[in-house]
């Protein structure tokens, strides 16, 4: 469904952040995107949705295709209309309006009022807390509540492809599980998902396939099960297997600074 090939992105005309990155999100699948801070995950999502402009970023090479159609550098509003919605990094909810209005802003591109009402009901169903706080000003919600709102808002667009930038950030463990289930459900209902996560356990447990990003390049990719089994991934993202986790209290004061590239 989404295919990114050989993408290069430059910020401020000088900072080269993506260096020839290629990636596929097959129709109907969940793809996990892992990578250290600053690897360029968010930048990739921005490049897909056309949101580089406000950050003084530019695509200098490569293409982004949605179902074969070239959407490289398209207008963001246009991209949303074509069925891509995203949960932005840092939540970015509209703090000064109510929860309810935030959700309705998410449905801006949709025509049918009845469908919007359906989605609305579904979101409140997924996040009962939001139903309680419907009339509250979104900015006063707790961090986790805001995260739920951000996910709910993206769902309101009823996208064909959902881009999630660290959806589990700041959520309570129980909720992380719920979000994982929600993603799975959405996916079952036909939405493809590109999931950027630091919580690799969570991401790989629902993903069909995954990519690992390192300084703007894909350094590893494969089916989720393969990645889960990979020893490097276990060491750096999963903290070894269940039961054999080493305690944070016993971390050595030196680290193995291994990287795949460089």
């Amino acid at each position: 469904m989404l295919s990114v090939s050989n993408l290069e992105v430059v910020y401020d005309d000088v900072v080269l952040v993506l260096r020839g990155l290629s990636l596929e999100v097959p129709s109907g699948s969940v793809v996990a995107l892992l990578g250290a801070n600053g690897a360029g995950k968010t930048t990739l999502l921005r490049a897909v949705t056309g949101l580089l402009v406000p950050h003084r970023g530019k695509i200098t090479k490569g293409t982004v295709r949605l179902d074969g159609e070239d959407i490289t550098g398209a207008d963001p509003a246009e991209v949303v209309r074509k069925g891509i919605a995203q949960v932005m990094e840092g939540r970015r909810i509209f703090a000064e309006i109510t929860v309810d209005e935030n959700l309705r802003a998410g449905a801006f591109t949709r025509g049918s009022r009845t469908e919007v009402r359906e989605s609305y009901a579904r979101v409140l169903d997924l996040f009962p807390v939001l139903a309680q706080r419907r009339k509250s000003i979104a900015g006063y919600l707790s961090g986790g509540e805001q995260q739920m709102l951000a996910i709910g808002r993206a769902l309101m667009a009823r996208p064909r492809l959902l881009l999630l930038d660290e959806p589990s950030l700041g959520l309570a463990p129980k909720l992380v599980e719920q979000v994982r289930d929600i993603i799975a459900t959405i996916n079952h209902q036909g939405t493809s998902v590109l999931l950027v996560e630091q919580n690799a356990v969570m991401a790989l447990s629902i993903a069909h396939s995954g990519y690992v990003l390192e300084t703007g390049k894909v350094v590893k990719d494969g089916r989720a099960a393969e990645l889960l089994a990979d020893s490097d991934i276990r060491e750096f993202y999963l903290g070894a297997g269940p039961g054999e986790r080493r305690s944070f209290a016993e971390v050595k004061s030196y680290r193995r600074k291994k990287r795949w590239s460089a």
């Binding site: 250290a36 801070n37 840092g90 959520l171 309570a172 599980e177 750096f236 944070f248 004061s253």
Partner: protein
């Protein structure tokens, strides 16, 4: 029950926003040098506790004392001067200032230079800048922030920004350190780093800390005691291992993931 070694003592703290009760008669103590964790579902009131301690929110009821002196009713800056430092859940760095300047701001309440002295630079202002800069450099070294010194905080990578915030809080030379989700959004490696810094800080400075965190493995590994909140109500307090198995906590917070 009075604790012998208590630094912070919170009693019957109640905070309401219109119809929402964010905190409902919460009480707890934090001992000197203790690492005290607060957990609970989203919206349980963890950040609100910090906001009450800091003087950002005015609770409707209850008392907060630090070393026997009440914190209630004091403006945030006064609380800071009494030795309470904090990191923020959504990053509270000053985006246009460099990392060094952010850390120097942590030392604001330890410095004296006013408008006049600052303008004239030579003399006290200069001496003060230099001595405090040295203190800040120690923290930079401790947290391995050297490469980012002159970078505007707004441009720091997320993990570094979180570390810088910790640095700024440490620069305040606090007696009590409040950490609001210090490892949210970090990968395993960075989480390990942060854990290491926290332990180091604790070992070297012997600070009392309150840690709010959803990463249960971190909480379980580091905390001396844990307070679990749900809907503003304290549902359990105790050793991490006790809390982990508390059915109420499992039900409200941990779910299957513990």
């Amino acid at each position: 029950m009075e604790r012998v070694n208590s630094l912070l003592s919170v009693r019957d703290l109640t905070l309401r926003f219109g119809g929402v009760t964010a905190l409902d008669s919460v009480s707890f103590d934090v001992d000197r040098g203790e690492l005290f964790a607060v957990i609970g579902p989203n919206g349980a009131g963890k950040t609100s506790i910090f906001n009450c301690l800091n003087g950002v929110y005015r609770p409707q009821q209850g008392s907060i004392t630090l070393d026997g002196r009440s914190l209630l009713g004091r403006p945030p800056a006064a609380v800071a001067a009494m030795g309470v430092a904090r990191t923020f859940q959504n990053l509270g760095l000053f985006g246009h200032l460099t990392l060094v300047e952010n850390l120097m701001l942590g030392r604001h309440h330890l410095m004296r230079t006013g408008f006049f002295a600052g303008m004239f630079w030579w003399g006290r202002a200069k001496r003060e800048e230099i001595t405090h800069r040295a203190a800040v450099e120690e923290i930079i070294e401790l947290l391995e922030l050297e490469p980012y010194r002159k970078m505007p905080a707004g441009m720091l990578p997320y993990g570094v920004a979180k570390r810088a915030e910790l640095g700024r809080a440490l620069a305040m030379e606090p007696r009590l350190l409040l950490l609001d989700e210090p490892v949210a959004g970090m990968n395993l490696e960075e989480t390990e780093d942060t854990a290491r810094y926290l332990l180091e800080v604790r070992r070297e400075l012997g600070l009392a800390m309150i840690l709010v965190e959803h990463d249960m493995s971190l909480v379980m590994d580091l905390a001396d005691r844990v307070l679990a909140l749900d809907f503003g109500v304290a549902i359990a307090t105790g050793k991490p291992s006790e809390i982990q198995d508390d059915p109420q906590v499992v039900e409200a917070y941990l779910g299957g993931a513990r």
